[in-house]
């Protein structure tokens, strides 16, 4: 009667893991190919949130309602909150150290900082 359930779980797992893997590769290509540190942060953001979360949800479908799912959810929640925090700290440290985006001269950014 419920013989369709494992097949449905497998299909859902395939979907989530495939999409997550595609997003991992897209983010890695972005991290490699984008021209600037500030634009490379976006590639890292794709990997950290969308790619990792989709792969974790795909693993959850395979684990079922067990303790494993709780651990996977903990990992997902932790990655979801800490990776934007780490990226923000990194961007802040780079800006303080004097790194500026392309097409933005240092004088321009100093004027913005003074006008605040």
């Amino acid at each position: 009667m419920e013989s369709w359930l494992p097949i449905a779980l497998d299909i859902a797992s395939w979907l989530f893991m495939g999409t997550g893997g595609i997003f991992l590769i897209i983010g890695a290509i972005g991290l490699l190919r984008l021209p600037d540190f500030w634009s490379r942060l976006h590639g890292a953001g794709i990997i950290d949130t969308l790619g990792a979360e989709l792969v974790l949800v795909g693993m959850m479908f395979q684990a079922g309602l067990t303790q494993t799912t709780i651990k996977l959810a903990l990992i997902g929640i932790f990655v979801f909150f800490t990776s934007p925090t780490a990226t923000h700290a990194l961007a802040n440290a780079a800006f303080v150290a004097g790194l500026r985006p392309l097409k933005m001269s240092k004088d321009e950014s100093n004027q913005k900082a003074k006008s605040k």
Binding site: G21, L24, I25, L31, L41, A44, D48, A93
Partner: protein, 93 residues
């Protein structure tokens, strides 16, 4: 399906390693190390599923925690040149 995800993961890790070795500035390298740590968490979890030992997820959870602390510690060291008491004459610059 785990092997497919592992394949995509390995490809992404190789690309990020290229950026890690080629990164022009210091912060590019820190970003690549941070992202590589996130991918390592996924790798440990997927290896646990492939070898049918889900206990690996504890290690993955611990690795996620250590990865975040490591990034913050590296950034703090770059900024203050010290990891312990930063209440010296140097201060934030």
């Amino acid at each position: 399906m785990f092997l497919t995800a592992l394949l995509a993961l390995f490809l992404a890790m190789v690309l990020i390693l290229l950026r890690l070795f080629a990164g022009p500035t210091l912060y590019d390298r820190v970003l690549a190390v941070n992202t590589f740590g996130t991918l390592t968490v996924l790798l440990i979890g997927l290896l646990g599923f492939v070898t049918e030992r889900p206990d690996f997820l504890d290690i993955a959870l611990l690795y996620a925690l250590i990865n975040f602390v490591t990034t913050i510690a590296i950034l703090k060291f770059f900024r203050y040149r010290a990891l312990g008491d930063t209440n010296t004459d140097m201060g934030p610059h």
